[in-house]
Symmetry: C2
Subunit: 334 residues, 2 copies
């Protein structure tokens, strides 16, 4: 740390602040310090502090699909945070299967990983006997588990859905549908429940359309087409995650439907599609970071009660929430 | 294996063929067998075959950026192949820094991973002393290393660039530019060289425009604008990878340029952008799979000379390669 301080012409305290992400460091100073750290390969010695008999300095991340951008961004954040603490990251996929998840978790425990960050597959009790027996700290991400409280980092799903519905209503939509992912997923169910609750709260039509997945382009195209042709048609949909959004966009294109859309999860080209897609942004990088920080707190001896951190979402308003021109005319009819 | 065969009503030999990806199994049979394997959690016992003193049944993947879809798809394929062989996967990022890569590789060797799949950062000699001394098998992916031959899986970059240029020429383009990524990357340089070579071979104008990155939307917007205003303007660009494509698309949108485009690397919404983006598709899943299969061959005792596998690319023709209408008129002028 002294080397970094000398090289960056700052005090050791400043280096420490940067490394520990404490406030009070100017942006340009922080960048200079990070540059030096990167250059000379300095690494924080949390490793040394927590290394003791039996520790492997390895943590593991178990997700559903490593290629899904939401999870790969969580993965990149977890890897980075682990690396600067001199820990290696094992990544594993349970491909959404609770059976496979159990096998994967057992394998990781047998290898004596020091801690786990897990997106639980399906819904299952927190008291996974293998994990509990091992005493390995675990932080659940994206979805909680049932039973006794566990460290968990989730998104503000009700808040996210509320912002989506309110945005659509402000744009003149009244008949809004919800396309959720598989109801087996807690997030899908929670977003659906939030959708129903906000509908009631705003006094919107009670006979709205809700369809839970799995969805494909082929299943969505006729469904959206039918919805758009009802006597009082659906004029907008909210899609429950990035997978559903992609399929819905393809389906809308296929049948040539003009319909408002707010997608859950931002995606890289949302602003280049016509119309640019308005989304509820969850921040996978912050979610991953938060989970690792909590895990390392446990590894460093934090024995406070289990905590659930709810990360805020943010509505990114582009164009797709507007009432399409073709529907504005129709709205004037009785 | 006998259990799987009984459950799927096929012979043990058929199960073996499916697991080893050998030909001669009907598609529906293969799917049934895979379904059973997934359900009963069968795992191939390569693990048992290669397990001996000192093996950890862990392999590692080192890439530049775990959140980049090209690498995350490689990662998902590597994890899957490792998992069905009862090996765990450590993933690490060197963030493009050779210095950090050395630290990461040393860390992995010290942990005695059994094998490594590495996208090398920058260009560096194959004879990494730490890796060589350990005798740990290593397969390089996406980019080769210098010096003595190593197991390597790369894409057919010259073939990919050639297909892009030929497609643009067939659509009436003559003045085509190349936007490569940072010339520090071997792939960026190889694609640039292929671009120049195919220009010569086809007798295209010799004074074409080539710009290597790193690029940002801010740097690309004025550049593309200037190119499109030259006396004999550039009418199309080839972008050297997915990052450059995204930035170029944003830049074109920003300055409102109509220009032909073929992007290197497919991306999920390429077909929903207006005009739909024609791309050179590399197959990251197959690349990852190939690399793992080669690594496991080495772990199983294959001592044949190092091999370089060149994976084919495929041009996915959508709309962006066409000569924009506004340029077709101009072309008629002297």
């Amino acid at each position: 740390m002294a080397d970094v301080a000398a090289e960056a012409h700052v005090s050791v305290k400043t280096v420490s602040r940067v490394v520990n992400r404490e406030p009070g460091v100017r942006r340009d100073t922080e960048q200079r310090v990070r540059g030096v750290i990167d250059r000379i390969g300095f690494m924080r010695h949390d490793g040394a502090r927590i290394l003791r008999q039996g520790r492997t300095q390895t943590i593991a991340l178990v997700v559903e699909d490593l290629a899904n951008p939401f999870y790969s961004q969580i993965g990149a954040a977890v890897e980075r945070e682990a690396r600067i603490r001199q820990h290696q990251l094992i990544t594993a996929s349970a491909e959404g299967s609770p059976t496979r998840e159990r096998v994967v978790l057992e394998g990781l425990i047998n290898r004596r990983v020091d801690g786990l960050v897990v997106v639980p597959a399906g819904e299952r009790p927190a008291t996974d006997p293998t994990v509990s027996a091992s005493g390995t700290p675990i932080v659940y991400v994206d979805r909680p588990v049932r039973g006794e409280p566990c460290d968990t980092v989730i998104s503000d799903n009700p808040g996210g859905v509320r912002s989506a519905v309110e945005h659509l209503v402000a744009n003149g939509h009244r008949r809004i549908a919800f396309l959720g992912d598989d109801a087996e997923f807690w997030t899908a169910r929670q977003r659906r429940e939030a959708f129903v609750a906000i509908h009631d709260a705003l006094g919107l039509p009670g006979d709205t359309r809700i369809a839970m997945g799995p969805h494909t382009v082929e299943s969505l195209a006729p469904r959206l087409d039918a919805w758009s042709r009802e006597r009082t048609p659906i004029t907008a949909v909210i899609t429950g995650n990035n997978r559903v959004t992609l399929n819905a966009l393809h389906a809308m294109r296929q049948v040539g439907i003009e319909m408002g859309l707010v997608g859950y999860d931002d995606f890289e080209l949302a602003d280049l599609i016509e119309p640019a897609v308005t989304v509820v942004h969850q921040d996978p990088t912050s979610i991953g970071q938060k989970a690792v920080l909590q895990l390392f707190a446990r590894l460093l001896g934090d024995e406070s009660p289990a905590q659930t951190v709810v990360m805020p979402t943010r509505l990114i308003v582009r164009e797709s929430g507007r009432l399409p021109a073709s529907l504005r005319a129709r709205k004037a009819l009785p």
